[in-house]
Each structure stands twice: as C-alpha cells, then as structure tokens.
C-alpha cells in the first residue's frame, strides 16, 4: 500500500515538468496552429539558463528566483524568435512554420554547445529540499512534494489567465475559430507573439524546474520532445486540461510500467497513445479538426500540365549526364549521387502524399525504414536474392501503409499527422526492442549487393529505380488518380457528391506513397550494407517533411528538388565545425526568402521576369 502511494507520488512529481512543457506546446498550437519542433530546445534552454543563474544567485531565494527568471528569459527568447522567424511566414501553407522551428532547433543546439560546453551539467539540489519525507514508511523526496504542489499552482494560474482575462478570451476565441480573432479587432500579431512567448516560457520553466532531478545536457531537447508530443496528442491538441490529464496519465502509467513491466519502457507509451487515439481520434479533450483546415491555406497551386518539349529534352539531357556519372566522376561521386537519388525518391513519395493528397504525415520514415527492414530481414532469414528483396520492400511497406493508413485516416489534419507519428514511433520502438528478431539497435549488417551488382551496376540500378519511381509518382499526379486525389483535397464535399470515395482515394495514396518510400528503403539498405532503427525514427520522418516543405509543397517537383538540395547541402556543411548552426541558418534563410519553397520561389521569380505571364508548372 505504502509503495503504491509512493509510486503514485513519483508519477505525479514527474508529471509536473512534463505538464508545463506540454501545456506550452498545446497553447501555441491552439492559438497559432504552429507545431513547434523547437519546443524541446526552449526546454533545454530553460535548464541551461536556470543552471547558470543558480550558480550566481545564492540561497533558496536565488534558487527559486533562478527558475522564474529562466522562464522569463526563455519566454523573451521565444517571443523574439516568433517575431523574427515566424511572423513573416504565417501566410505560407499551414504547417510550413514547422520548417522554421526546425531551423531554430539546429541553431539552438550549436549555440548551447558553444556557450555551455559539451559536458553534462548536474543540476543543484533545491536548498532545504534535499532529503526525503517518510510516508507510510516509504521515502518520498521533498522536492517531489514541492513539484506536486507547484504543478497545480501553475495549472491554476494558467486556468485563471484563460478563464478570467481578456487575453484568455482572445486565446479561446483564436483556438476555436481563427477568423473570429480578426473579427474581434484584435491585433493578431501581438496575440501570436505573446502566446508563443508564454508557451516558450512554460517550456523554460519546466526545464529549470527539473534541474534538481537531473540537470542540463545537449540531448534533452529531443528526449523531451517525443514525450511532449505524446502528451499533447493524448490530451488533445490545444487543450490545457487535456495536457494536464495526459501528463498525469502517462507519468503514472510509466512509473507502474517500470515496476511491473520493466522491459516495456519504450513501447508502453506509444501503445497507450495509439489506443487513446483509436478510441478518440482527437485526443481525450481535443476538438475535431475542421475539414480542409490543414494543408490548403493560401493561394491554391497553379494547375499542373505535362512538361513541354524543351523541358523534356533538357530533363533527358540532365538524366543522361547523371546516368553517365560513373564514366567521368570518381567513386565518391557515385556514392553521393546514390544517397541523393534514394533520398529524392523518399522525399518525392512524401511530397506526393502531401502535395497531391493534402495529407501531412509525421511518420513517413516508418515506410522507408519498414521497406529497408523487410529487405534486410528477408536476406537475414531467407537468404533472399537482392532483386527479389528490393522488390519485396515496397510490397511490405505498402501493406504496412495500408494498415496504418486505414486506421489513421479516421482522423484528419494534425490528428492524422499525429496518428501516423504514433504508429511510426510504435514501429520504431518495436524494432528497437525486439532485438532477437531485428537485432535491436545493433541493426542488421552485411546486406550487400549481389556479386553481379558491381558498384557501377548498383549505381545504375539505383538511378533507374529512383528516377523511375519519381517519374511514376509524377505520372500519377497527371493520371486520373492524381486528379481525383486533388479533387478530394480541394473540395471533399464536391468530390463525394460526384461519386468519389475520398477516403479510399486517400488510403490508396497513402499506400502508394508508403510503397514508394519502401522502395527507397530497399535500395537504401543495399547502398549502406546495413540497417538500423535510426531509419525509422521520428527524426527521419521530420527530415523528409522539412525537405518537402523546403522544396515546395504546391509544385510537382518540390519533393525531389528539396531532397537533392538538402542532401547536397548537408554533405557540404557537415565538413565544418559548426555545421548545425550553418544548416539551421540556411534553412531559416530559405524559409524567409522562399515561403513557397525553393521551386515555388524560383517559379514566382521567373513569373515576375515575364510580366503578365501566368505562372505555370
């Protein structure tokens, strides 16, 4: 009995910091519709700033003052980021802002390394709260009790702010109906800045508050981000009470999981997430997305048309040059081109889903990695020849996509994205932990091309399959399927009222894109000779998403162009010491200069050069 109570208290204490970070993310999303990837970075900044302040400020007053100040400082940084980086891109396609926040993540990582150095910092203990209280014989840390007291306080303050102030009215209005804010005559810009700052301040506060239970390290931004996503999604995006309930639920469940199912630490969270979302696709207290709210903001894209003669000729010439690469360039050129081609196919598959279907997936790496694992497992357990296993990769990934899509498409918009994220993470944690079959994080190694596939032959194979795949995706956009898919995206009611089965179309698109990603994965495993769970990770999904947005969603070639530019840039920049800073700043620059993505931006520029010309594809 005493143990169970103590465990409950541990869970509640853990819920504290988690709630603060999650409520900030949820608030920001609710009002501004920004999925803030940088939220973990603000949490990390809160920890580092709090740590530094605690070194300077003495005693208990200094300790608590440092925590509050850390929140304020991080809030101010957040507001500044919003003004400089996000304001200019609110008119861009929805969710585009997440690219900007991803740039911020990279910049913050390198700045933190520069300022605080590589060594983990151990947080100081809270003055006067360093020992334990015995409750029914069980030791309970005093600081845990402090956290349990502070969390409802913060929640109450937030509630008062939302329920009792004018700002709160605006926040609720904006969360429920974005157009209403404009109607209320509110200066929307400052509301957004304020809320973004407040959300970041909460993240910073959470980071500083957890110092006595851990410290500050350079990996904590991503570590917390996955957890916070889970909490916000389970609670319902934009819902503060939901975030509170979900933080407590996840934290307490984890504590009991640790004791009674110690092997389950990774999987448990994602199983809970998937279960909750199956039961309530919009989270415990979330609001249903209005159809068409996501993805189709801003000017509609220009109608597509097949390429003209000159363009076809130039493309053929460029492809011929690329195909002949082994004949005139060195072996590393071949390696780099192989990587770029494979990533282009992966990005193009996501781009098809996003651009044609209007479906934002946060878990596309599940199919890339899934395809790769299908091929690798076939080799490992059945000695399958290369050609066959590369062929099976898209099949396996397509089947996986069919299953995941059938469930995820019950929701739409951001919730659809979150369901794909949940399934992706579930798959990753299964592969990661089921070491007996998948090799766990030691991966599957030694999957090399067959003897007949010399490096040159393998390059040509990759070239043919990747370019072929991209052309097939492109052709699909020009086929009745692509048109029907865009119809279902542009005007779902009209589509249904002309006999289109919109959900089946979307499921087919999801499966198709998944299969294509799987094909890229099948090539990938042979190009690297090995596969590890990293390829299924959330980071890989986001990378693909960033690339697609950077390339341009509302264009036909945004996917592969983004993929090629990004991979090339990455290869170039990682040669420098502070490459994350450089890459982050480059991404931010692209975001600010080309809110339509690279292809969209170039197209606009060239349309401007030809006065009066309507932009075409």
């Amino acid at each position: 009995m005493g143990l169970i109570l103590a465990q409950l208290l541990t869970g509640l204490a853990n819920a504290g910091a988690l709630f603060m970070v999650a409520s900030g993310l949820s608030l920001i999303f609710g009002v501004t519709r920004i999925v803030n990837f940088a939220h973990g970075s603000f949490y990390m900044l809160g920890a580092y700033v709090g740590y530094s302040l605690m070194q300077v400020l003495p005693g208990a007053v200094g300790f608590w003052g440092a925590i509050l100040l850390a929140g304020l400082v991080v809030g101010a940084i957040g507001a500044l980021v919003e003004m400089i980086v996000l304001r200019p891109v609110y008119a861009a396609p929805e969710l585009f802002q997440l690219v900007a926040t991803f740039g911020v993540v990279l910049v913050v990582q390198d700045l933190a390394l520069m300022i605080w150095g590589p060594t983990d910092l151990l947080g100081p203990r809270a003055p006067g709260l360093g020992s334990v209280v015995r409750i029914m014989g069980e030791p309970v840390p005093q600081y845990d009790l402090a956290l349990i007291a502070i969390t409802p306080g913060v929640a109450l303050l937030l509630w008062l702010l939302i329920a009792r102030t004018r700002l709160g009215i605006l926040v609720r209005a904006a969360t429920q109906d974005r157009e209403m804010v404009g109607a209320l005559g509110v200066n929307q810009r400052w509301l957004f800045t304020g809320i973004f700052g407040l959300g970041c301040a909460l993240a910073g506060l959470g980071g500083a508050l957890q110092l006595p239970k851990g410290g500050a390290d350079l990996l904590m931004d991503f570590t917390i981000l996955a957890q916070v996503f889970v909490v916000v999604v389970i609670g319902g995006m934009g819902s503060l009470p939901g975030a509170l309930i979900a933080s407590v639920l996840i934290s307490v469940l984890n504590v009991f999981g640790v004791t009674y199912l110690p092997q389950s630490t990774l999987v448990l969270t994602y199983v809970v997430m998937v279960a909750v979302l199956l039961w309530r696709p919009f989270g415990l207290l979330g609001r249903e997305e209005v159809a068409g709210e996501i993805g189709q903001v801003g000017r509609p894209e220009a109608p597509i048309a097949p390429a003209g003669g000159l363009r076809v000729a130039l493309t053929v010439a460029a492809l011929a040059a690329l195909a002949a690469l082994p004949l005139y360039a060195g072996p590393f050129a071949r390696v780099l081109a192989t990587d770029i081609l494979i990533f282009c196919l992966f990005a193009a598959s996501l781009h098809f889903l996003l651009g044609q279907g209007g479906l934002v997936s946060f878990g596309h790496a599940a199919f890339f990695g899934g395809g790769a694992y299908v091929a690798a497992l076939l080799v490992r357990y059945a000695d399958t020849p290369m050609a066959l296993s590369i062929l099976m990769a898209p099949l396996g990934a397509g089947l996986l996509a069919l299953g995941i899509g059938a469930v995820s498409l019950r929701a739409s918009g951001v919730y659809f994205a979150m369901l794909t994220l949940a399934f992706g993470q579930l798959l990753w944690s299964l592969v990661y932990q089921w070491g007996a079959v998948t090799g766990g994080d030691d991966g599957i190694v030694g999957v090399w091309p067959a003897a007949w596939a010399t490096p040159d032959v393998f390059y040509w194979l990759t070239f043919a399959v990747s370019v072929g795949g991209i052309l097939v995706l492109r052709h699909a956009a020009h086929a009745p399927f692509g048109y029907s898919l865009r119809a279902a995206r542009d005007a779902p009611r009209r589509a249904a009222a002309t006999g289109l089965d919109t959900r089946r179309l979307q499921l087919a698109a999801f499966t198709f894109a998944g299969a294509m990603a799987g094909l890229a994965g099948g090539l990938f495993v042979y190009s690297k000779g090995s596969i590890f769970p990293d390829e299924l990770e959330i980071a890989r999904s986001f990378e693909a998403l960033i690339v697609v947005f950077l390339g341009g969603v509302k264009t036909l070639s945004g996917g592969w162009v983004g993929g090629a530019v990004f991979t090339g840039l990455e290869d170039l920049l990682t040669r420098f010491d502070y490459w994350r800073l450089a890459l982050g700043l480059t991404i931010l620059a692209v975001v600010l200069v080309f809110p339509d993505g690279l292809v969209g931006g170039l197209r606009r520029l060239s349309a401007r050069r030809r006065p009066g010309g309507e932009p075409d594809e």
Partner: protein, 262 residues
C-alpha cells in the same frame, strides 16, 4: 407510377432542436420543385440528408422506389442524383475543363486509374457540358481565378456530368447579379426540360422561385407548412405570415452580396 423522389416522415433532431421534423413530399420525373423557407427553416439540413451527408433520425428517402436513406453520398450520386452547392465547391487547383473531367472520370469509374494521362480523358464531353452552361471559352483558365457567377456555372456543369435524373440545387443564384440570376435559372429550366431532369432547389430570390418552379414546398421551423403551385403559395395566408415577412429581411444580405460581385 412511382414518384422519382419520395420522402416520408423525414426528421433530423439535434438534441431538443427539431431541425427537420416529419417532412414528407414527392418529386416527379422532370419536375422543377422549389423548397423555400426563412433562414433556419431546415432547408440545408434537408438537402444534406438527401445527399447522404447527414443521417436522418427518422423517416425514409426513396429514389424511384428504392430506399436510399442511409446510403453514402457517392452511392446516391451513382444512383443518379447530382447537386450544386450554396457555397460553390470546385477544385481551384485545376483548370475549368479539368474540374468537369474529374466528375466524368468518376462517372466512368476511372478515378483510381494510374495509366492514362487525365488531360485528354473525356475532354470532348467536358467541353460539351461547359458549352451547355456557357463556359466553353473559359475552359482553359484555372478555376481559382473565375468570377463568382462563373463558378456557379462550373458547379452546375460538374453536377450534370453523369446526366442525373434528379438535380439538387442549394441556392443556385445566391450572390449573383440580377441579370445573371435570370439567365442561370432559365438555363436550368431549359436543361431540365431538354433532358427530363427533375430539379429540387432552395432559393431566397422569390422572382426566380415564382418564375421557374412548377411546384413550391414551404418549410418553417423544420415542418412543411404548405405545398402547391406558385399561384396557390402566393395566395396562402399562412405562408405570408410565417415566411414572406422575413423574406424581406433575407433579401438585404443577398443584395449586399450582389454588390460585391463584379
């Protein structure tokens, strides 16, 4: 001979609110029927149920004697029911003619086809339909740049793609200039007569209703309060009381909208 559309005791309740309450009526083949009523009378709810977008809480919808009450939208469409929308629903990312082609592809069950290029598919038929609604010249323009009245015509062309037996039109002339309204309603009547298509439409513009409807149904607060030919409805005391008074108010926003339209 059975009616083309037969509605029996149709109801939709939202909690205590009876949006549509025990409504019964029929539409014959080739007949043009107007469904009118003040705002909130239940017209849109009624349409949504007819199109399968909203489930009735009670009653039956029969199409040519077949119960289609709980069918999904796309199946109702396949059974020969087309519709246009109050707020036009077209595909802004496509050209005008492609909008119609997509509907034709659906009609020919080619929506999932991956092999052919969509551009040339059913293009001639799409051009015919556009010509029918007077949009042939604009066929190559992006739908996103069309004027409001033209969007309405495009919407109509799409609704006609599968040669419907019954066409449901939700406020077909809303937001159009008076001259355009008359032209569109004449066009609709002609199409109905030429093809034998029955039309059920809702409308705020009483001129259009009385000029083109063969029969009028009046809804008020979810209930059907009157039904008959235009002359009888015009004379109906109860209709004048509950409906025509507020119709004057309704005319105001419509006029405002009209001015916005170029």
């Amino acid at each position: 001979m059975t009616a083309l559309l037969d509605i029996r005791g149709l109801s939709r309740h939202f909690g205590a609110l009876r949006a549509v309450d025990d409504v019964s009526f029929a539409v014959a083949r080739g007949e043009i029927v107007a469904l009118i009523g003040p705002n909130g009378a239940g017209k849109s709810t009624c349409f949504s149920m007819l199109m399968g977008e909203l489930r009735p809480t009670g009653g039956q919808i029969l199409l040519d004697g077949q119960d289609i009450t709980r069918w999904p939208t796309r199946r109702i469409w396949r059974a020969g029911v087309g519709r246009t929308f109050q707020i036009t629903a077209t595909y802004p990312s496509m050209r005008v003619v492609e909008n119609v082609q997509v509907a034709l592809m659906s009609h020919h069950r080619r929506s999932f086809a991956l092999v052919p290029r969509a551009r040339g598919l059913y293009r001639d038929r799409a051009m015919e339909l556009l010509a029918t609604v007077g949009m042939a010249e604009q066929a190559a323009r992006p739908a996103a740049v069309l004027a409001y009245g033209d969007l309405k015509r495009l919407d109509l062309a799409m609704a006609l793609a599968h040669d419907p037996r019954l066409l449901l039109m939700d406020e077909p002339t809303a937001g159009m200039a008076p001259a355009e309204r008359a032209a569109l309603m004449t066009l609709v009547s002609d199409i109905a007569r030429d093809r034998g298509t029955a039309i059920l439409f809702t409308e705020h513009d009483m001129d259009a209703v009385f000029a083109h409807a063969e029969r009028i149904l009046v809804l008020d607060r979810g209930r059907l309060i009157a039904e008959g030919p235009p002359a009888a409805i015009q004379a109906d005391r109860s209709v004048q009381e509950v409906y025509l008074g507020s119709a004057l108010e309704d005319a105001a926003p419509a006029a405002a909208q009209r001015e916005e339209t170029p």
